[in-house]
Amino acid sequence: MTNKVDQPRVLAVASGGGHFVQLRRMRTAWAGCEVHYVTTSDGYRAEIAAEETDGVRPELHVVPDANRWQKLRLLRQLLAIAWVVLRVRPDVIVSTGAAPGYFAIRLGRLIGARTAWIDSIANTETLSLAGQRAGKHADLFLTQWEHLSVEDGDGPRFEGSVL
């Protein structure tokens, strides 16, 4: 048996589409970890199942989709993510956006998880709205554009991009 005690449990969170495509491009960062993906579409199941390392297959948790104007759906999404966070008890939460990642990071802090927000590369001129809100609650806050990085204080750092 491998030493599961030291293996971080990672919750990787993004809404479906471009955010999830970016999240998936960072997968080598959590190779060898116990990985749980959270997204808004069940359609990624086959792709996630194929990401098997050392016989360990990541899990996929699907939560309701919502944009920021759909208050009731946002609430359902929040509850679904709270359920996943409480059940999985991740050591680390990583997100590229948007609302699901914000919720996961806020909830993750409550259970003592370490959290990382990598702002979407789509946000070339200013940080995303979710990033502006989530970043200050994240232990690691990154932008994918060097000109948006802030070297001191609470702003994001630049450590390269998903491309």
Binding site: P8, V10, G16, G17, G18, H19, F20, V21, Q22, R25, M26, R27, T28, A29, W30, C33, S41, G43, Y44, A46, E47, N67, V92, V94, R114, A116, I118, S120, I121, A122, N123, T124, E125, S128, L129, D139, L140, L142, Q144, E159, G160, S161, V162, L163
Partner: protein, 170 residues
């Protein structure tokens, strides 16, 4: 085959209509469009086959088999086209036309429009010439404007920074 994709959030009539006009003038070219859910007065193309949404695996297959891709300036579209080294034409959604909540696609188009294989239009009237050029490039082997397929994973610097964070061994 040209694959048109406007993402999952909202229809993008300005682009869909422009592609339909081009398809009408180019009946020998096959176009397939993922055009989201048009509202009651929304534009429905007459000259090519469409669907509202595609499952992620089907999106992947469409990108693989397409000769060229036309899309909104969403990162999913741009990254996937670059990963498959497909000629890409993008049109950013604009907030003042209620095509998107903010203008981030305008910025994205500005930053990615000069990547190899990528071209950008902003207005419907630019579409005809741009799609003509795209279609010519798509059928030219050894397209001088094409770039190599990009890596399927993020820059090593980023994954290293994340890995260090995840394993807490900074």
């Amino acid at each position: 085959m040209i694959f048109l994709t406007v993402g999952t959030q909202l229809p993008f009539d300005r682009l869909t209509r422009a592609v339909d006009a081009w398809a009408a003038a180019n009946p020998s070219a096959t176009v397939f469009g993922q055009i989201a859910q048009p509202d009651a007065s929304g534009y429905r193309p007459k000259n090519f086959e469409t669907c509202a949404f595609l499952e992620p695996a089907e999106v992947e297959r469409r990108f693989q088999t397409a000769d060229a891709v036309i899309g909104h300036a969403g990162m999913g579209t741009i990254i996937t086209a670059l990963t498959h080294a497909k000629p890409l034409l993008i049109m950013p959604r604009r907030a003042h036309l209620s095509e998107q909540r903010n203008d981030h696609q305008f910025g994205t188009a500005g930053r990615f429009g000069d990547k190899p294989g990528v071209s950008v239009i902003h207005e419907e009237h630019e579409a005809k010439d741009a799609i003509d050029r795209l279609w010519t490039r798509a059928r030219t082997s050894g397209d001088p404007d094409a770039g190599p397929a990009i890596s399927p994973v993020a820059e090593a610097r980023l994954t290293k920074a994340l890995r260090t964070f995840i394993w807490n061994d900074a």
